[in-house]
Symmetry: C2
Subunit: 209 residues, 2 copies
């Protein structure tokens, strides 16, 4: 540990000083984004908050959009795994609950919501957010695959729509109608997706007539 924490100047080691700087810059970027929003986000503020010199930030990240994109890249690398409770109902409830917590738990400091808002101000942020979510959805497909293997769902169930139906009502209220979300909203969304999936609504063969 001591060796990786004290890299030879000029070298880059995973888990070492470079990784710590990157994490500190990510934390500062998300905190500034959550507090002030994208229109007020500046490299200078991230520099002041992270303690990393602004010329370093400009050189390594290019600017505000580069800082945002890297923050989401780091979140992807953090290795999220979908819930695995043993049942489809448990997994979908947990998936909806994770979204609920991401946007309401004060420990996240409002960063997830600020990121979605930033996607409407910056095309690079929008692309990064979309890549992040598509990656999450792809990994969450495992939930549906396992449920099919357990015989809980029709074999030709398309995982993508099941996952999206589980989280969409939460995002809809948060970002489109501006309505609050709570555990009832999350669990209704999960149970609605579950019920529809069991009934074959999301079967690949299903083409609504």
């Amino acid at each position: 540990v001591s060796r990786t924490d004290q890299p030879t100047p000029g070298t880059v080691r995973p888990g070492g000083r470079t990784a710590r700087v990157r994490a500190a810059v990510r934390d500062a970027t998300l905190a500034e984004l959550a507090e002030h929003g994208y229109p007020e986000l500046t490299v200078e503020r991230v520099a002041a908050r992270s303690g990393v010199h602004r010329t370093t930030l400009y050189r390594r990240w290019g600017g505000v959009d580069g800082l945002l994109v890297d923050a989401l890249d780091l979140a992807v690398e953090d290795g999220w795994h979908p819930p695995d409770t043993g049942s489809l109902e448990g997994d979908l409830r947990e998936l909806a609950d994770e979204v609920l917590r991401a946007f309401t738990d004060s420990r996240h400091g409002g960063a997830p919501a600020a990121f979605v808002s930033a996607s409407f101000h910056s095309e690079p942020a929008a692309r990064a957010l979309r890549a992040f979510l598509v990656g999450r959805h792809d990994r969450a497909a495992t939930i549906v695959v396992r449920a099919v293997d357990r015989g809980e769902l029709p074999p030709d169930t398309d995982p993508g729509p099941v996952v999206r139906a589980t989280v969409a009502p939460l995002y809809y209220r948060l970002f489109i109608t501006g309505e609050p979300i709570d555990e009832t909203v999350a669990e209704q969304a999960a149970l609605a997706a579950l019920t529809a999936a069991r009934a074959g609504v999301f079967s690949r063969a299903h083409r609504p007539s």
Copy 2:
């Protein structure tokens, strides 16, 4: 008709010149919004497009946000009614299809999507959009009330979540993940909401355990 089209100077008549000016300004505002987005929207551009003098626009609408808010107010006054096909399945399919068309039919010129985007740039636009959608959802509740009366749904079904579940997957893809929408997405959303509502997922008494 000829009388209301030629009002006495200084008077304001519904359906007369004032209403025509208002509609022309609304059309110009939506067209500019759709073409250039909120950050580029200016009173000067709306003036040039509508043929209404900019001093009139400033005096009557105050500025860009006033123009946007009035455009949505006009849409509310236009008297939208929810579909009434005779069955819950038909009504929910039509409701989802209306959202699909609003965001994909070229006749709308991209104005609905531009409005949602504007809500992330302007608090008055966000409030106007939310009031507009809440009003639509309130009226769409009739669909569920009629279905309960026909015996298609449990009597204690809460209309709000049914309506929101029907449209949420479309908004989620359009504005959060940036994925395309089509008839299959719309109809799966409608059928998922239908299936869940029939199963009692949206019953008021239902508290997920």
